[in-house]
């Protein structure tokens, strides 16, 4: 190859394989998303996580607390399904963190970083795959909840709204957990620490039990934190109750968190080594 040929060939490759641009980002994300889905469908643990876990939780809580709750005039199935939904989304996001940490560990992430593909593709592909997983989870959980007596009282729109808000929540959770994986890198470390964000936010929420049941000094945290608001909005959607306030709070929280998590995640991704 002469010097001129080389120069021209390099130029041509740079042009053809250029990684910039939104359409590239989307196309690359979908390719990686597809790969993640193949992987997910081949992990037996994921299948129990998707199929069995949410239903076991729903059943266990319902059986244990339905009677006591009805003494407080709470129809517990209507109250419980939203937080069980969000919990399932948390589990989804926790699994995404383990898988991302696995990719860092095997060198897959480095390989992708050295390829001319969009910088957003790895995270985008992760998100796409886990949103699909979230939809599958919902498609199993909601019919079972229906059998247990859960109802959408405001028709099709409330179902669509419920699903969209849940998926938005999942997006935020997956992005947040991606941050954890990018920061910690080691799969076993990630595995043992995924519980740390989950525990306070999901459990110290008004999702399982109304905020008034908590000790007075804890109530402010329970009331203000995002999971409580999203659970309340989901409940309002299903029950056809006043929606505006919880929805605004939820969306507000989610947007703030998403932009914070998103920028930090991309920043960490760029400088990871």
């Amino acid at each position: 190859m002469t010097a001129m040929d080389l120069q021209a060939r390099a130029k041509q490759l740079v042009k053809v394989r250029c990684e910039a641009g939104l359409s590239r980002a989307i196309a690359d994300s979908f390719i990686i998303g597809q790969r993640n889905l193949i992987r997910l469908s081949r992990q037996p643990a994921v299948i129990t996580g998707v199929l069995v876990f949410p239903i076991v939780f729903l059943t266990a809580f319902l059986l244990a607390f339905e009677r006591s709750m009805s003494a407080q005039n709470i129809d517990y199935i209507q109250y419980l399904v939203p937080i069980i939904t969000l919990q399932a989304m948390f589990f989804t996001a926790m699994n995404s963190a383990s898988n991302l940490a696995g990719d860092i560990d095997t060198g897959m992430l480095q390989r992708c970083r050295a390829m001319p593909i969009s910088r957003a593709a790895v995270l985008g592909g992760l998100l796409i795959a886990y949103l699909v997983r979230a939809i599958v989870t919902l498609a199993i959980l909601l019919p079972v909840a229906y059998l247990y007596g859960f109802r959408f009282h405001a028709g099709v729109f409330s179902i669509i709204g419920y699903i969209l808000l849940t998926l938005f929540f999942t997006t935020v959770a997956v992005t947040g957990y991606a941050l954890l994986a990018l920061g910690l890198k080691k799969p076993d470390l990630v595995q043992s620490l995924v519980i740390v964000p989950y525990a306070p936010f999901l459990l110290l929420s008004s999702g399982f039990s109304p905020a008034e049941n908590f000790p007075t000094w804890l109530q402010p945290f329970v009331v203000i934190q995002p999971v409580s608001h999203v659970a309340a909005a989901l409940r309002a959607l299903a029950d056809s109750e006043p929606l505006l306030v919880p929805l605004l709070w939820s969306v507000g929280w989610l947007i703030v968190l998403l932009s914070g998590f998103g920028f930090t995640a991309i920043w960490l991704y760029r400088r990871i080594s």
Partner: protein
């Protein structure tokens, strides 16, 4: 040529077998497992921290639901035993995954080629686990003390209170050992344990009294071994009848050990790696 004599001598002095040799071998392997736990305090903190957190959250969010006219302290007195046994049962997952990693890393193969008792690997795992469980019981009980849990039934009963769940959980952890020997990945162990740990611990007389459950579940709740352990512990700490429950717990422990240790040892001997 003195070689044959030496070989015979070596076989004589090193060959495994005999009661004392076996006990000694098990003790050594146990010691190794305990040392590993000691070097990884994060694992113990993680597996103890979560049940403690769960205990605190449940006290905070369900005290007013389950005992509407009582105080948080009253519910703590009721809940701490169940939280303890639940925490221990969940940490059997760790016992399982740790064994799985040993099997995969070749550590177990090395131990198996040594002239030590065949039972040492598995029994050492169970005993090492028991040491860790005891530490966890003590931690959980101390935190329980902070939220109002008290031993009201004397020192000896208090001691039995601490040992009983360790015994029961050790028996139960044979099931985790069995799964670990069979499993193809660490997540499989986790995914296979969790779906039945949840109903066992939730559908027991622990979070709520038996009358809190719907009638058709009450049958399961009463025969659930976790109910027996929780009630025995409750009797030992707070007073009331407990001899019957203690005996039940012991019988369950023997039964679980007999069944799962047989299965585990059989599966272990069949392994070819």
């Amino acid at each position: 040529m003195t070689l044959p004599l030496n070989a015979a001598q070596l076989v004589k002095t090193r060959q495994e077998g005999g009661f004392l040799r076996t006990v000694y071998d098990i003790a050594l392997v146990t010691q190794r497992n305990l040392l590993l736990d000691l070097r990884n305090p994060a694992v113990i903190i993680g597996s103890t921290g979560f049940p403690i957190f769960l205990m605190l959250v449940f006290t905070a969010s369900f005290a007013k639901v389950v005992v509407p006219e009582g105080s948080y302290t009253d519910y703590a007195q009721f809940l701490v035993p169940l939280s303890t046994i639940q925490g221990l049962l969940f940490s059997t997952i760790n016992t399982g995954t740790a064994l799985y990693y040993d099997l995969r890393s070749g550590m177990v193969s090395r131990l198996r080629t040594l002239p030590i008792a065949r039972s040492a690997v598995l029994a050492g795992r169970i005993l090492g686990g028991a040491g860790r469980l005891l530490v966890q019981v003590i931690f959980i009980t101390l935190v329980g003390h902070l939220i109002g849990f008290r031993f009201q039934n004397g020192f000896i009963n208090g001691l039995i209170y601490l040992l009983l769940p360790v015994l029961f959980t050790s028996a139960f952890s044979w099931s985790a050992v069995f799964l670990a020997v069979k499993a193809k990945s660490a997540e499989t162990v986790q995914a296979a344990m969790a779906p039945w740990l949840l109903p066992l611990t939730f559908l027991s007389i622990g979070y709520v009294p038996k009358e809190g459950f719907p009638e058709w579940v009450q049958g399961f709740v009463s025969i659930n071994p976790v109910s027996a352990v929780a009630q025995a512990m409750r009797g030992l700490s707070s007073g009331g009848p407990y001899i019957g429950y203690v005996v039940q717990t012991l019988l369950w422990s023997v039964a679980l050990t007999a069944i799962f240790s047989t299965l585990a040892i059989r599966a272990y001997q069949k392994r070819n790696s």
